[in-house]
Amino acid sequence: MSLFDLRLQEIHNRFARKELSVSELVACSFDRIRQVEEKVRAFLTLDEEQARARAAELDKQLSDGGPRGLLFGLPGGIKDNIVTEGLRTTCASKFLANYEPIYNATVVERLNSAQSVTIGKLNMDEFAMGGSNENSAFHPTYNPWNTEYVPGGSSGGSAAAVAAGEVYFALGSDTGGSIRQPAAYCGVVGLKPTYGLVSRFGLVAFASSLDQIGPLTKSVEDAAYVLQAIAGHDPLDSTSARVDIPDYISALSGDVKGLRIGVPKEYVGEGVAPQVREAVFAALRELERLGAEWEEISLPHTRYAVATYYLVASSEASSNLARFDGVRYGVRADNPDNLIDLYRKSRSEGFGSEVKRRIMLGTYALSSGYYDAYYLKAQKVRTLIKRDFDKAFEKFDVIVGPTTPTTAFKIGEQVNDPLTMYLNDILTIPVNLAGIPAISVPCGLVDGLPVGLQIIGKAFDETTVLRVAHAFEQHTEHHKLRPQL
């Protein structure tokens, strides 16, 4: 059993009783990394020297006594599209292979205030565009449950590092499912908060109206702790919400009596693997045993969500990625003919093919003559998708279904088929379009690969989402399973 299998409170108790030091816990991370990283390849950059120095500082603070931060001493990994001052941040792109940020993202500042220890930067699909981590410009990441399979994406490194026991927690980002889908594939907990709950300052933007940062952890309780540390208004992010932050941790009461669950028929129908569907219905029966009630509902515009997303997200991405021009940072091509040629050559050298594909799609959808037919149309369908949820939440507290239609697929299986790859996100995408929160929790294995249960809540109702997920988790054994690496 690893130290990382201990509950957070138990770790903190052991710190207090001087039975464990932060340095030992951080060493545990690096030992594990040395043991398994060759097979998993979750990291792009490790920060061992800094991490050990930080651990020593925190140990000194332990012996001096005094208040400790919420995540005191916990080793964490950070997805490589979140900037860390002085620590290379690449977004898994050749374009930023040597980029050293001059500031910390707000979430990193908050983790530092909560006194966690950053172990390193985690692999991802380039600029967060992908669902398998195969679009990393550097190397893929492998699913710890079966290394012939993808860990999912784009936060593949984050999910794999937690599943493999290399870090206690990780931060990922989710634009169309990029926290929840890899969490499902890797058998860990992944939460996408309500849009605006967590600051995007320092998150390299992909789609500004959809991106959110969130935790990946091995338990719902840990996710609640991390959320508590990072949530809240940020004056540096004009899209961050001015809402009071509740106590997410004490919301984990274990009680779901009288909870009203809606299960969209569109989420459990054709296209979802039968064994995944079975695992979800078994989970629903478990929730019924705990006193919840569920009913089939309809979210009729579900089938338009992928199309809507790919227009909206690609359009926003084409605009956000315009800043990568070779002038102030990143790849700069040699011998350009003129300034425009500099832009063209630098971008073409630095960007991978999925990134170029989405920039092309987004540029087309926004271009003169096509804007109304594509981008504006998608924005209107987005309204219809959001309305489906608003209507459902009049009668139900949460919406539940599978996180993904299938379990993880094999490395290389879908690289040449972008459209199939996009359809893996059909169950996660609508949530981003509506801006509401959702969590994926493990709910079983199929042929040795994990299945994720998705619990979707009303805007800013993370407490209910976490409460339901926690109650389900604590009454089942799925969260105790570990991959054999």
Binding site: N98, Y99, I102, T194, Y195, G196, S209, P235, S238, T239, A241, H301, R303, Y304, A307, T308, L311, A322, D325, G326, V327, R328, Y329, G330, V331, R332, N338, L339, D341, Y343, R344, K345, R347, S348, S353, K356, R357, I359, M360, L361, T363, Y364, S367, Y374, L376, K377, A378, K380, V381, R382, T383, L384, K386, P418, L419, L433, A434, G435, I436, A459
Partner: protein
């Protein structure tokens, strides 16, 4: 539906991307397939529906016009591919 090469070249130019002939062919095909797929949105009647540009309806988030400390120049230029006299250096913009 397919997009023509001319169209691909136009979009690549707008996006400031230099594509090889092979890339142009690949994208013409792939984008064609994707655009055909997203065309299903036309099945929906969206007359009178307001577009949603943001899930969280914030308007005019402002701050006081107060001066804040600027970044030191050496930090700003830290990742510059080419710099001179405290400025980013680029190929000539004007003839």
């Amino acid at each position: 539906m397919s997009i023509g090469m001319k169209e691909v070249e136009h979009v690549a130019n707008l996006a400031r991307l230099a594509l090889s002939e092979e890339e142009k062919r690949l994208y013409a095909e792939q984008l064609g397939a994707i655009l055909a797929y997203v065309g299903q949105l036309n099945e929906l009647d969206t007359d009178g529906i307001e577009p949603t540009s943001h899930a969280l309806a914030l308007v005019n988030v402002l701050r006081e016009d107060e001066e804040r400390a600027p970044w030191p120049i050496d930090k700003v230029l830290l990742n510059a591919p080419d710099a001179e006299e405290g400025q980013f250096k680029v190929p000539a913009v004007l003839e």
